[in-house]
Symmetry: D2
Subunit: 293 residues, 4 copies
């Protein structure tokens, strides 16, 4: 691995939170951190005034912070109440996330992910790449990452998922990226990693869900194509959208050329989504994402 | 009317054509024009190699052209054959097109259209504006254009269309722009103006067809919204797409803010589509458009 | 005027502020408003961590607010300190801003501005349009707004500015929009309306400042053109940028076509800048803008 | 190397040409190819009517073509005349181009280039990577490509260029990509590879040429940043632009965040430019590019 990991900032702590809006909650949270010796380095918030709901991301330098990591949750809970629609998570930057990558045959997203992680652009560990085809083993080899071939057929789907889940558990994987993995994952699998499976769909959802979206885009004669990265839910291509981007096309683009042009969209959109996830900048609530910047 | 009509070029003739590809057709057409004294000022073409079909737009200065307008069609026909899938049209720039505008209550597209036509940016005649609500009569008045109020109810829909068609015939209207006209037009109406009714839909079709697309976009949590201009066909929001554009949004955009941001998209996308139509740069074939630039 | 002014929200008060960052300032401000009966409807803030500077926009419903408008400034000042680099302004939504528009011969920005203001999309009063050419008087007439012809020559420039300043004072103008006004305004004029003159430049600044940017763009062979709206300062085309947007072009675009395509960019970019200014969402500091959303 | 090279089409021949416009030149060229048994698979052309100049790209399947490669130039010359401003080149797809990549310390463009070439997305040979720093040797190693370290100082610049030119000659390099190579190349070097050195500049040229453009962009407060790929000429950052793209930013982007966001722009824009070059779709004329699609 190229060594510019030291380009990363010193240890930081991050609180990601949503709860019913209560007057003063923002002030209470920031004061709690400051009073206890934390230096706030990031604070963003959003109020959805339609449903009176509060979302925030707070990040602080815990160098002089007097509250221990383990006690933190207990101290924060009273500040945010215990409403039924409250969720929060705490993240410490020295606990590096572990990401598994699932692939089939298309290499572009995998290359982009591995380049970013190994060059130090991202701080993430990738213990294993899972393929249902052997094609991308050579890419994994180049980057020195274990490649596990688990071919899926209609007959063995359940068994393969057992093997996948065991593998993920063995590697203590935090989240999964489906980097052009051309298989639908089961409800059981999704439930094991809620809002922790990131997919890339090669269309501007909700237009053209399902298979062969570039063929559909060509047939419909759209003037713009897109790509969408989203968390996987039990309903196909209907999960919370993290990031989208588009590209202008014309009648001159054959399906083949749409596919080629779309590759860059796919890899950039997926990598942007992974980056936001790694920064703990995404809250999922009621089927949508709040993505802080 | 502000008088910069003289900013337009001298008289030009335009041939818009598609037919099965035949080797040499492009050369035959350009030679025909040159041999007969026409000076070509624009030539673009496109071959769809999947279906071996040829599309072209030729524009020439007919100052020294020895073939009369009336004889032109007869002379061109032998050059392009009489295959079953052949269509062409001829346009002369001194025959100014007549456009009717249909509106409901939203003013932004109407204002944009009237400003462009009256400032001389477009060369088009607008003999009448048809409204199913009285709200925009004041805008028509400002610009000195007849406003005809024809309120539509579920009971009188057929009668009103009779009146609309009679009005369009009386004014010798060439094509119709639905500038935020919040009514579905009937099959009969569409058939009277095939590929000559231009609509603006406030979403990135085929995402969010039908009513209230901004509400749907908010509910689905998309990160980009769009607008689509298309020719109206018998199937709602499924006609050939002429132009689309998009705008980045975030969770911070309420429905109201999506609506506001979308206005500019709607008016610009619709006006770009009208402009291409006025320039005779659009061929419709098999449910898609070829738009020359 | 079309009557959807009542679409606007009830009276609101807005504080726009920047000052050196002090721990707790955000909490102190929001508490001050809440404690005195104001209901906060908008709160955004930004900290420039490089210079440790705080920027915020707070908007509240003053229906139950117990602090009178006149006393407000005195009550806010202690909360923000009196550092040398502190500025704030207070705005009440029932005090409608008065905007003068300066034009030459190009109509598209003027039309766009007048359509937005008269349709109620913007809440602004336009008492007068100033032209150095008579061409756009007919547009002003259509919309029923006074047009004042003040032709500028190299000889009379100082006198004309005297007349302009007198006219602006007479009409109690708050800010000025140069809507394709092809004259350079003097330092004296700029100083009379600091950060209150909005210009549109037909290029992606800092590329192609000065005259004939589309010719320069064509000559340089750029693949994208742009437009920039900025506050006017004493240095030409160097003022704080409010908004920019771009459009993809190619070698096929002649200068004439760049000019035509650029029109839509110019009018949309200028109108977005005016809209942010009208909402009091822009802070100018050290030659740059903070634009809240 | 992953083996989907066979995804490439059968052998094709390409003519890239510009000359003074002569009536009938397009027809003469297409007939020459068809009469001699070539099947045209691509034909695009452009006429710059300001200077009456003709540009075209013709690609054909030479399976049944009766004119030998060696005789082709002699047969084409009479068709295009020998005007002083005529240039053409012939390319055969089975003669795979050889590309050298020059790098310094930034890895993202290099990774993107190597991933595309080794996955078979591009058909290109990369015999050598030249670095003036050792940092990216590990990347070259991963992909099994020779890395040649040639550190440049102000003292040894001439000698190093001698070594570079010898290395390029030894490897029969056709063109050079400066993939974040942070050195200015000499006039002598540029003249050895005219219109065959592709650079990426991390700004929207002509805005922010030279060093530290992200710092300049931050200081100027632009709302959009860009990247530009161009052929290198003797004047710094003034060569013919091949491709540009942009990204919306705001006051919230620190220089560091601009740098990070800009990385994706840089690699995508550079790779698009290389792809067009590899397809022989770029003509350089009078300091600008014609880029066919």
């Amino acid at each position: 691995m190229e060594a510019n990991q030291n380009a990363f900032e010193p240890r930081s702590a991050t609180l990601l939170l949503h709860c019913d809006l209560r007057a003063g909650v923002a002030g209470d949270l920031t004061r709690f951190i400051q009073v206890n010796g934390g230096r706030i380095v990031y604070h963003d918030q959003y109020v959805d005034t339609e449903i009176n709901h509060y979302y925030t991301r707070l990040e602080w330098d815990p160098a002089g912070f007097v509250v221990g990591d383990a006690a933190l949750a207990d101290r924060i809970r009273p500040l945010i109440g215990d409403g039924p629609d409250t969720e929060y998570s705490l993240h410490f930057s020295d606990r590096i996330k572990r990401m598994a990558v699932f692939v089939s045959k298309d290499p572009w997203c995998l290359y982009d992910i591995l380049a970013r992680s190994q060059s130090g652009e991202w701080r993430v560990d990738i213990p294993v790449i899972v393929g249902n085809h052997p094609d991308l083993k050579s890419v994994a080899d180049k980057f020195g990452i274990e490649f596990r071939l688990l071919p899926v057929t209609s007959a063995n789907k359940g068994e393969v998922e057992d093997a996948q889940l065991a593998l993920l558990a063995k590697h203590s994987v935090d989240f999964i990226v489906l980097a052009k993995y051309m298989q639908i994952v089961s409800e059981r699998f999704v439930r094991a990693y809620p809002n922790r499976i990131i997919n890339i769909h090669h269309a501007f959802l909700p237009a053209f869900p399902g298979a062969r979206p570039y063929h559909s885009a060509r047939a419909r004669g759209v003037k713009i194509i897109g790509a969408t990265s989203h968390y996987v839910t039990e309903e196909l291509d209907a999960g919370p959208i993290i990031e989208q981007d588009v590209l202008r096309v014309s009648h001159r683009h054959s399906v083949q050329e749409l596919v080629r042009s779309g590759r860059d969209l796919e890899k950039i959109v997926l990598s942007r989504a992974i980056w936001r996830h790694l920064q703990h900048k995404i809250i999922v609530h009621r089927g949508r994402t709040i993505v802080f910047h």
